[in-house]
Amino acid sequence: EDVIKIGVQAPITGSYANEGQGIDKAVRLLVEQKNAEGGLLGKKIEVYTCDDEGTAQAAAICGRELVNKGVIAVIGSYTSTCAQAAQKIYYNAGVLQTSDGTADALTENSYWTFFRNSNPNSAEAVYTAEWMVNKKKYDRIAVITDYSTFAQGLGNAVVEEVKKLGGNIIYTGKIKANSQNYTPILTKIKSLNPDVIYFSGYYSDGGLLRAQQKQLGINADFIGGDANDNPDFVKLAGSAAEGAYIINVPTPELLPYDVAKKFLASYKEKYNEMPPSIWTVLNADGLRAIMHAIEETKSLDTKTIANYLVEMEPYPGLSGPLAWDEDGERVGSSYLTYRINENGNYDVVSK
């Protein structure tokens, strides 16, 4: 074989299409650059993309397809559910997988093939609880999640961590994503006099929640989990966006590292747009780490590569130092809290 095959499993269509397409674009950009340098171990890299549509069922089919194509590593998927649905297939086939999925369950099985390139929900939850209970000293905390794997995982973890710190959760509830009308649940929360409303779901609902919160005259603070970090949050919330907090790892533009700046510049040049979110960058990091490991070990044996990834010294990533523990969990976290100002821009308020 004189080519190295890399798979991308991402939602190219469906609700998360732009995120999935971002991952695909980033991978193709990196591969193009690498091939221009003469390839990996002297071999050209080929990319195979499979659209998992953001559904578990399609993801399972993708898993089989990519394994069959003979890829040695798969980048993706964007959602935890899809990453998880194909995880066992890659494990059985000995194919490496790196995903930004944040569900804690992804590393529970300690599959040696799996490497998370983001931080798990639990890490975000620890940070969030710490910030809410110890920094802001909120007394009455209301938590809202939606029905997605991700949001429920994060929401439940936050509740747990807050309780660990002795915080007071006055309400937990679920909304149905995209149902737009959240006044019933907010009215209920209003009657409980919260200091803060924490929402672990996605921006498309978060923006509306914030707008409707203000409209109902609820004066509590609003904190959105990482999935609220999207320009549309501000557009949806309108003037109500001001003062809302969002907790996330840094946005691509805020990344301080030189490698990151270079990567973003070439991404912008090639596609005439910025990556849709930090998740694109994280997945790019996953690929970069794997390529690095291949070069260091001079091997295409996935087991060897995996071992190297677990043992390697932190490697400079776009999103900060890259290193993994033996469960495939990324070591170290870099969460930030932003406050949205009256112009709709982010101010970093806490690291």
Binding site: K176, N178, Q180, N181, P184, T187, K188, L208, L216, D232
Partner: protein, 299 residues
Amino acid sequence: MDIFFQQIINGLTIGSLYALIALGYTMVYGILKLINFAHGDLVALSAFVGMTVFAKILGGEASLFSVIALFLITMAVIAVAGVALDKSAYKPLRNAPRLSAVVSALGAGLVIQNGIMLTWGPNVNFFPGDLVPNIVWNIGGTVVTFIQMLILVLSLILMIALYLFINRTKMGTAIRASAIDKDASRLMGINVDRVISLVFIIGSALGAVGGIFIGMYYRGITFEMGWQYGLYAFVAAIMGGIGNIPGAMLGGILLGLFNALIAGYVSSTWTDAFTFLLLILIIIFRPTGILGERVAEKV
């Protein structure tokens, strides 16, 4: 106590949106005995059309004139779309088994939904804000906004007008007759094809009002949102007694209130389950809905 009244206001607002949309289901059902599964997607389409009409044709400046024009133009466009939908997907199936048209409607829904996605993109779009004054009344802790009042009052006016039209005018009686027996109606001199088109025009235009309200009230609009509203409005129509116009209004309001009260007092995680259990109970005890006629089959 203020949360109770707040929930009532919440419920009435969303309920009258459901009612407006439900009228489209119920009218088409009445005349074609067809669950027009694409109606919800027409509603979604109207929000997008409204957004574009406002930005591109009306110049994006909010004024009393431009808002009224926004409504009228969008209603006209969606009415035409509704008639086109009927002519292309349902008319060829008038004499086919009933469920064939249902499948065709499901297909048409997919077409509209994905047509929206291809035209306006898969991401959230934004309906122009501040079309109406941003007035908020706070009555003893219960918050009511201008847009809520607008939705409530305008919906009510439209529904009453429709009711009178159907029951008091000759054209309205022709609609009711065509709903019962098309051939016999033709023999009375009624142009049934035109009556059916009229029904699609009215139903779609009312749906368009609903769609614009959704855009104005929530701002963010997505290509998939039609399913959600469509399903609830359809449930409302069934609860009230499908084919029955006051039933659709009652069902819509009832559903809105019920949803708000369940989310407020029982559980936000089980609202859907409660809603559908209510529906099932209503149907079991009143098999043709709350206001549906109960004509025993004559043997």
